[in-house]
């Protein structure tokens, strides 16, 4: 099917570009964020963090801090050794996986700068902050390893007790898996071999709302508010980590200001706030500063990628071999170890590679630990393979789109089982590419590029291609089981029919900016035939939404939305016998449409009975058929049968000022296929934001450490996050090839833009500069790196310090020993 228009929507809510109902409160701030919580007698926490990347704690004196005004208690690792457990890693990727214990508060050794060594509990945040400076910590510095390749060489150990920096080696081989041929044979017999090494720099998720936690221990349960993506997972993990009954913990994720994977975590601070509340018997709050966030909230990406691509002279790819070295940082967080492995299934992308081998070596360093960041594993894979396809095209002297088309899965070949063992249900790469080329003016831009090359223009033009797909909608539970993940991938929903005819929808996925309330209302409005405005979507509180697996991996709509549909349909089925009773008809003779049951064949004029009327009848329960339960509410838990495979063709034109190395985006066109769309505005928003995040990896963002393991990019002065002023207007369009594995025919969209855009931009930068002999530029492609590449200089890694903008005459904080407080 090749549809480039939206399906007819008629009166249907699904497909309408509804403004988001949650936006007014989110944008104006007239809502409750965790840091707005004020509870009677509430205490405030300040973390004391290690300034060293690797050190033994030889002495920790809290006497002075405890005596400071307003201080209630100071807890150290020693105080909570027996209570704090070890922070969870839910994804032991191999049975042999090595991991150090992960205390919330370090006990005798710190393994990255920013690790917590004590917490001050005080009557006010200011008193706590002052007292934090009085916590006296003596450190004996140990050798630190803060470079991924150096760590892989295993000379300096991040955790001496482990005896190695190697956490796990995870391998997929298409011969062993029975999904394809032998890659070594393909390499041996290749006409063309492309071997490259790419760097995935370290990134920082940079959500808008900093992390924040409040724990109230004063009722029968501990109530924990957290700015988290995963209230349900957090509740279970806290119970397991701390040995507290799960039924005694209620977790609430109120409105949450973004996450991008950065709040898919069970954090030391959540555990510590819990312990502090239990210790003092009072509500406790911790709210981070931006500097703390950049330093100690988990980071993303950070890999070296080695790839070998084998092809025949005609351009047909015969095999791909991938070796990753992935930086775990100092500890394994919730899914740290699994993130690079999610990429294993995506290096083959949209292509029909007959042979494939993937190896991933997970390595510890003395750096902030990494974990999920928008795309998690798939952006890394997509970047590498889309760079490789361009390299192959260059080797062959052919157009990069043409080489891709030669190798991609044809529309007629779906469903298609890939060499990585996944079954892609649907796709139409031809249609998306044709539309993108048309919108982009591909031929005209190529002609302009030729002219500029010819004339030796100071500003060169480059065209970058990225024909991506990704696997999302995490995830079929049996697949997660096969990958040793510690949980399933289902989602839960309930639909409650209120007597007044209003509807409450409870979803287990936990929105933190995505617009679930709007989209779910649209879906239920169509399913139940009730007005959009009459639907309230509730989420993010384990007492209201008792069951769920939260929001990440572009799963909410295709898994959680499907659960909402299933629950809605159960409501209709529950209502059917009541409708039959009311209409004095047989159930089989009823039709349900636009919120009403009517008798088939009884003609146009009949009134039938509305579902909302039945809700009132059920509430009264005066006249129900014998044996009927007085209730229409329904629950559904949906376990997806497959991943969802959005795809698209992204084309980017970059202008490079060869004198300064500055790159300017000229145009960006993307045609995405996310199947049927519930709300085009929300989809465009996801695409736009996603694109900027991916472009930012290509051009702007990088977390840089110095040799001592200090994060140099510790504020937004140096971690150069783009704003709208740095981007252009994107041209977005869609083709619609419905997914065959859910009722909506939808595919995930939350990560698509991020996954696709990074290689499109870097490919464009390189395409502009290839005639000058440039073959690679390490990300982010800063003006200096681009200029150096043009000069033919070696790419030297940046280990310079950040520029100072503030006088560091610090009378109260001049030695590292006293530099303990929050940053």
């Amino acid at each position: 099917m090749t549809i480039t228009e939206e399906p007819q929507t008629g009166n249907r809510e699904v497909g309408r570009d509804r403004r988001r109902k949650e936006d007014q409160r989110l944008i104006t701030g007239r809502t409750r964020w965790t840091d707005n919580m004020q509870l009677p007698g509430m205490l405030h926490l300040t973390m004391v963090r290690s300034p060293f990347a690797h050190a033994r704690i030889t002495n920790l004196d809290t006497t002075e801090a405890k005596a400071a005004p307003g201080v209630i208690a100071v807890l150290t690792g020693a105080d909570v050794t027996d209570l704090q457990g070890s922070l969870p890693n839910a994804w032991p990727v191999t049975p042999e996986q090595k991991a150090p214990p992960h205390p919330a508060i370090a006990v005798d050794r710190v393994a990255f700068s920013g690790e917590i060594v004590a917490v001050v509990i005080a009557r006010s945040a200011a008193a706590g902050r002052d007292a934090a400076e009085l916590v006296d910590v003596d450190y004996e510095e140990l050798d630190a390893v803060t470079d991924l390749k150096a760590a892989a060489a295993d000379e300096v150990l991040a955790h001496p007790d482990l005896g190695t920096n190697e956490s796990a080696l995870w391998v997929f081989d298409s011969v062993e898996a029975g999904t394809g041929e032998d890659v070594e044979a393909a390499i041996r017999d290749a006409d063309v071999l492309v071997e490259r090494e790419f760097r995935q720099q370290r990134l920082i998720p940079s959500f808008m709302e900093p992390r924040s936690v409040v724990v109230d221990p004063t009722g029968e349960q501990f109530v924990l508010w957290s700015s988290t993506q995963v209230p349900h997972i957090l509740r279970l993990m806290l119970a397991l980590t701390l040995g507290v009954s799960e039924s005694k913990i209620r977790v609430i994720a109120p409105d949450v200001g973004g996450g991008f994977g950065g709040k898919l975590q069970v954090t030391p601070e959540e555990v510590i706030t819990f312990l502090a509340a239990r210790h003092t018997g009072k509500p406790c709050k911790w709210n981070e500063t931006r500097s703390e966030s950049l330093l100690s909230a988990h980071h993303g990406r950070d890999q070296w990628q080695k790839l070998t691509l084998a092809a025949r002279a005609d351009g047909t790819v015969t095999g791909l071999k991938v070796h990753l070295t992935a930086n775990m940082g100092a500890y394994l967080g919730l899914v740290t170890s699994g993130v690079p492995i999610l990429g294993a299934f995506m290096f083959n992308a949209i292509y029909k590679f007959p042979a494939y081998r993937f190896e991933c070596q997970n390595v510890f360093t003395n750096m902030t630990w990494t974990d999920a960041y928008r795309g998690a594993g798939r952006p890394e894979a997509t970047f590498a393979i889309e760079r490789m396809m361009d390299e192959l095209a260059t080797e062959l002297g052919r157009d990069p789109l043409e080489v891709r088309e030669q190798n991609w899965i044809k529309h007629e070949e779906f469903p298609f089982t890939t060499v990585a063992g996944l079954e892609y249900d649907s796709g139409n790469y031809e249609a998306a590419t044709a539309r993108a080329k048309e919108l982009f003016g591909y031929a005209e831009l190529r002609a302009e590029q030729a002219r500029r090359r010819e004339s030796g223009d100071r500003v060169q033009l480059g065209i970058g291609v990225s024909t991506f797909t990704e696997m999302c909608g995490l995830a079929p539970s049996r697949v997660l089981g096969a990958l040793s993940y510690g949980a399933g991938g289902w989602e839960h929903a309930s639909v409650r029919m209120l007597p007044s005819g209003k509807v409450e929808v409870i979803t287990g996925s936990s929105a933190h900016g995505q617009g679930h309330e709007t989209a779910w209302s649209q879906i239920v409005a169509d399913e139940l035939g009730v007005p959009f405005e009459d639907i309230e979507v509730l989420h993010g509180d384990t007492q209201i939404s008792h069951k769920g697996l939260d929001t990440y991996g572009s799963r909410s709509l295709v898994v959680g939305g499907q659960a909402v549909i299933a629950a809605s349909r159960k409501v209709v089925e529950k209502a059917r016998p009541l409708a039959a009773h009311a209409l004095e008809a047989h159930e089989d003779d009823l039709e349900f449409s636009a919120g009403r049951f009517t008798v088939k064949g009884a003609g146009e004029g009949q009134e039938g009975v509305a579902l909302t009327d039945l809700a009132l009848r059920v509430f009264a329960a005066h006249d129900l058929p014998d044996g009927t339960e007085p209730g229409l509410d329904a629950d559904a838990t949906y376990d997806p049968v497959n991943f969802s495979y959005p795809h698209g063709t992204h084309l980017c034109a970059m202008e490079i000022d060869t004198e300064t190395g500055e790159s300017t985006m000229r145009s960006y066109v993307c045609v995405d296929d996310v199947g049927h769309v519930v709300n085009p505005l929300i989809v465009d928003g996801q695409i736009h934001g996603g694109l900027v995040q991916g472009i930012a990896q290509a051009l702007w963002e990088e977390a840089v450490y110095d040799d001592q393991g200090t994060l140099i990019t510790g504020s937004f002065v140096d971690y150069t996050l783009p704003t709208s002023a740095d981007t252009i207007s994107f041209v977005t369009d869609r083709t619609v090839t419905p997914s065959t594995t859910n009722d909506l025919g939808a595919k995930g969209v939350g990560e698509a833009g991020t996954i696709a855009s990074t290689p499109a931009v870097v490919n464009a930068v390189l395409d502009a500069l290839r005639p000058l002999g440039v073959t690679d530029i390490v990300m982010p492609c800063t003006p200096e790196r681009v200029w150096n590449a043009i000069q033919g200089a070696a790419h030297q890694p940046l280990t310079e310090s950040a520029a100072p903008h503030f006088e560091e005459s610090a009378p109260n904080q001049d030695t590292p020993e006293t530099e303990g407080g929050t940053l």
Binding site: D130, D718, T720, L721, T723, D726, T782, L798, A810
Partner: protein, 286 residues
Amino acid sequence: MIPAPFDYAAPTTVEEALTLLSEHGDDAKVLAGGQSLLPVLRMRLNAPELVVDISRIESLKGITDTGDAVRIGAATTYQEVLDSDLVREHLGLLHTAVEQIADPQIRHRGTVCGALAHADPAGDVGAPVLALDATMEVQSRGVVGPRQVSAADFFVDLFETAVGDGELLTAVTIPKHTGWGSHYEKFVRVSHQWAIIGIAAAVRAEGGVIAEARVGMTNMGAKPLRAPAVEQALAGQPATEEAISEICARAGEGTEPPSDLNGKADYRRHLAGVLTRRAVLAAAGA
């Protein structure tokens, strides 16, 4: 981000302010717009005992015409500078540089004199002020009338100026450059960034020929720099790329710019050459 405790005073006269400052010596800090001081305090890079807010001192407010020059009082914000017809007409270079500082919120609080006193080498006002031969008024307690310090002597080092402990920068006076073309070329990776380097150029052109030129450089050393050799060589040249390329290419020679995440010293020197040419051409209207 909570600063260490400090006392706060908001005097209404320069005398009162000077009394407080001299009594507390280096334990006191002046607060103007707070756009650099507050981050310093909040990050606890500094913890003064007393903060003396000068924003309520009437005599420090405003922009005045002194005949040959324009005087900008210490409590004048960037936005007031941008809104001033005097500045627009006579100090085009300062105007275009201030337009490129940070964002509207910061420009409504931050002051030109606060930035000069702060002396961040990456700050955008130092180079234009230096290039336009400004004079700073520095007032000490008990002395009648301010010291006049030329911009060339004002900047001492990284974050260090001729303003001593207990002193106040009360105004900056900048000679009018009426009819000069000007351009400030700020090189950044993202729009809200401090200048990786910046080139401030003012040109008086007569019939397509550069009669006089002024060139100041931001972030090419520990303090704002001027390029006198380039200025002299430009005088008398036609305002064409051909004529001035070679002259401007030398702008970075002999400088010692910083090496940091945004660029090593040699890259900055290279940029100085390229951007000086561009700035001068733009200022000359070529």
